[in-house]
């Protein structure tokens, strides 16, 4: 739900984010770009994982395909970035359809495992493709100016979030939620479950691929191991769930907060950073399993009881 105050706050936040490159040091712009891309990934995962209830571990594959599509188009065919990133996105969409139709028949853990294997498989495939530079990777043309990439990432995140906002209040979105809650009941009520799941997977793939394309061009380098890194997929899931999966703004909040916490920890207590980061996640999942946005939903009257109830829910 979007109340007037909510939309004003949203526009103000967006404006502040747009102005960041003009007001802050380069390090912050770079951190901002990384965070925005992560938030986009978390938001894409939200479509298939949060709304549709299919915990995909294959979204980082779309990210990799988007990066490689961009790199191959630019390096091997000398195409401009705008065309390259579209090539990457189209490839990812085709891949999502070809893959989704069989894999989306699996439910629950089986779906997660099947998609988990994909990242490994893709690393192997791409490492053996001449056009993709085998296991050495590809070096993309250099474009100076972090601000460009920052604004591009912000635009992409806004697009992904608007899409999710539309999903949250559309017939399509209700179909997805019905599938998440009970797939058999959804089918009996008239939801074309196969088509809807495929579309959700495709949308998630589309936005992930665009993020991958921007990242590859920004870093000017892509290789199989970093492109299909499974920890990236774990990150987006954690961020989406931390903020609130299946909500419009949850994944954004989760991504921005977790990226900031992780960055702070990495600079303050370098060695133990990942330990504390893990602790933050464990505590968050135990005390607020529905994510941060669930707190705001109950804001008036939120007390210790809420956390105690969640504790009991876990039988801890």
């Amino acid at each position: 739900m979007m109340r007037p105050i909510g939309s004003i706050a949203f526009v103000a936040m967006l404006l502040a984010l747009v102005l960041v490159p003009w007001l802050s040091p380069p390090a912050l712009i770079q951190f901002g770009t990384t965070t925005l891309l992560l938030a986009t990934l978390a938001q894409s995962w939200n479509i298939i994982g949060g709304y549709t209830g299919y915990a995909s571990f294959g979204n980082s594959v779309f990210y990799g395909i988007g990066g490689y599509g961009t790199a191959i188009a630019m390096v091997q065919f000398g195409l401009p970035f705008g065309v390259g990133i579209l090539v990457g996105a189209v490839l990812a969409v085709i891949f999502a359809l070809l893959l989704g139709l069989p894999v989306l028949r699996l439910r629950g853990h089986y779906f997660a495992i099947a998609t988990l294997a994909l990242a490994e498989a893709m690393t192997g495939v791409v490492s053996n493709l001449d056009i993709a530079g085998r296991n050495i990777g590809l070096v993309l043309p250099l474009r100076k100016g972090d601000a460009f990439f920052y604004e591009l990432s912000l635009g992409l995140l806004a697009l992904a979030t608007l899409t999710v906002f539309w999903i949250s209040r559309s017939r399509f979105g209700f179909g997805l939620i019905a599938i998440r809650e009970d797939e058999d009941a959804a089918g009996v009520m008239g939801v074309n479950t196969t088509l809807y799941k495929a579309l959700a997977f495709l949308l998630a793939g589309f936005f992930s691929a665009l993020a991958g394309g921007i990242h590859a061009y920004w870093i000017t380098f892509i290789d199989p191991l970093s492109a299909f890194d499974i920890t990236l997929n774990v990150m987006m899931i954690i961020m989406a769930i931390f903020g609130g999966a299946g909500t419009v703004f949850g994944p954004l909040v989760g991504a921005i907060l977790l990226a900031s916490i992780s960055e702070l920890l990495a600079t303050e207590i370098t060695g133990m950073a990942s330990l504390f980061f893990g602790l933050v996640i464990v505590v968050a999942v135990v005390f607020m399993p529905r994510g941060l946005t669930d707190l705001t939903r109950r804001f008036p009257g939120l007390g210790w009881r809420y956390f105690r109830e969640n504790l009991r829910l876990h039988r801890l």
Partner: protein, 244 residues
Amino acid sequence: MQTILAVDRLTKRFGGLIAVDDVSFELLEGEILGLIGPNGAGKTTVVSLISGTITPSTGKVLFQGAPIAHLPAFRRSRLGIGRTFQLMKPFPGLNVLDNVAVGALFGTGGGKSQLREAREDAAKWLAFVGLGHRERQRADELGGPDRKRLELAKALAMNPRLLLLDEVMAGLHHGEIDEVVSVIRKVQSRGITVLLIEHVMKAIQSLSDRVLVLHHGTKIAEGAPQAVLNDPKVVDAYLGTRRV
């Protein structure tokens, strides 16, 4: 009256178990057919075969003259077949209103395209089944009887031509049963055909135009309620044969 549904020599095997064995019957437009039988007789399987959550091993199902036995469930629901589940399947994370709105958004002919209209429709059906005051509650916070009402509202919001009701009265007390009975009467008066699975004989007797009895997957009797319930074969199926 015209035939709306024809089930022809329907059989469903689960491995070695024959859940539904060569069952045939017809449903006439606008009537209420009671489907009864002891536990495990195959009643729910028949409903699932008609609604499409499972496909038959052999046999045909014709809805308004067209074969549907191998259509996916969502296509059948768009043709106008709605059902409730004996083991209730509310969407737990959604509130009661939105649970019903899903039915209005999809359902017969593809349903409404706008969420706002669907919610208005949903509110109407919730009032119809007596759940209007629970709109904002989460579905998993409802008690048993209210969940039954929610199942009914969800199926009705699909605007079905044929409604398959799988034990919507189980676990309700007398007053609540009377309420649901009157809701089903109202449903029938809207021209909706009903297939009613029920163990509550009072309801079966007062609602059904005809009754069909299943036992071990086969049809053992069919006809007017009084005649069927007094049929010795039916009494045997329910109470067992007297051993002297």
